[in-house]
Amino acid sequence: MALEYYLVLSALLFTTGVIGVLIRRNAIIIFMCIELMLNAANLAFVAISRSLGEASGQVFVIFVMAVAAAEVAIGLAIIVSVFKHRQTINVDEVNSLKG
């Protein structure tokens, strides 16, 4: 399989995530779309690492996964505390920084 196929698939997955962030108003689903975008980047990393014949890209994928795990933990904690205050996680209604 040539590198192009994997890069095209990665671009399509990334675009799906971008569209999801733009059209969905549920904060948790926006988070899932961010995960989709990170995964698309991971796919491109692994494909290019394979194509160049070295493992550096896979090391970066592990870093990306660690950052994604930290981001999900913090983000979900914020979502839970926003929900406790406002009883909604619709990002159109949660539009002020004041608690």
Partner: protein
């Protein structure tokens, strides 16, 4: 068509359909389950690329830990009842989809165009031959990328402390 191409089309189609299902289901639980399907299909793609360790980490960390966290929060907040209405914003949806399709065209164009540079002429032959093992990844991770690895542990520590602070402030206000 050789088996690798068939598997690539299979896993690629499943991951794309799963991704589209994530953004089109109205109920967050269905979206989360579709995302798990997407993650498993991507683990299959990683195995096709010879990245077995990354595929295992993908299943354990993403499909295991992160998605359990998502499902736990969705069920904890009981979001199914309130998010069914107005889950997708109506006003600018068409505009967003058009912009997304433009982005997809650009991305596909770059992906098809970039590897054809004369400097990377050997890329297609290399993709068949080299296999990276867990041994290679560990050697890189603990020699060349040791400092980033340690910084990663600091990021995780910061996230841990941040979550505890967020939750602790909540419980102090309640009491």
């Amino acid at each position: 068509m050789n088996p690798e191409q068939i598997l690539f089309i299979l896993f690629g189609a499943v991951s794309l359909i799963g991704a589209i299902a994530v953004i089109s289901f109205r109920h967050p639980i269905y979206s989360a389950l579709s995302l798990i399907v997407t993650f498993f299909a991507q683990a299959g793609l990683f195995i096709l690329l010879g990245a077995h360790f990354v595929a295992a980490v993908q299943v354990i960390v993403y499909a295991g830990a992160i998605m359990v966290l998502f499902l736990f929060v969705i069920m904890l907040l009981n979001l199914g009842t309130l998010s069914a209405k107005g889950a997708i914003s109506g006003k600018l949806k068409g505009f967003a989809v058009i912009l997304g399709i433009l982005l997809a065209i650009e991305g596909v164009y770059i992906a098809v165009k970039a590897p054809n540079d004369p400097a990377d002429a050997s890329a297609e032959t290399a993709i068949e031959s080299v296999s990276t093992t867990t041994y290679n990844i560990g050697e890189l991770l603990f020699n060349e990328y040791l400092l980033p690895f340690e910084v990663t542990s600091l990021i995780l520590l910061a996230a841990l402390i941040g979550v505890i602070v967020l939750v602790k402030r909540e419980s102090q206000e309640e009491s």
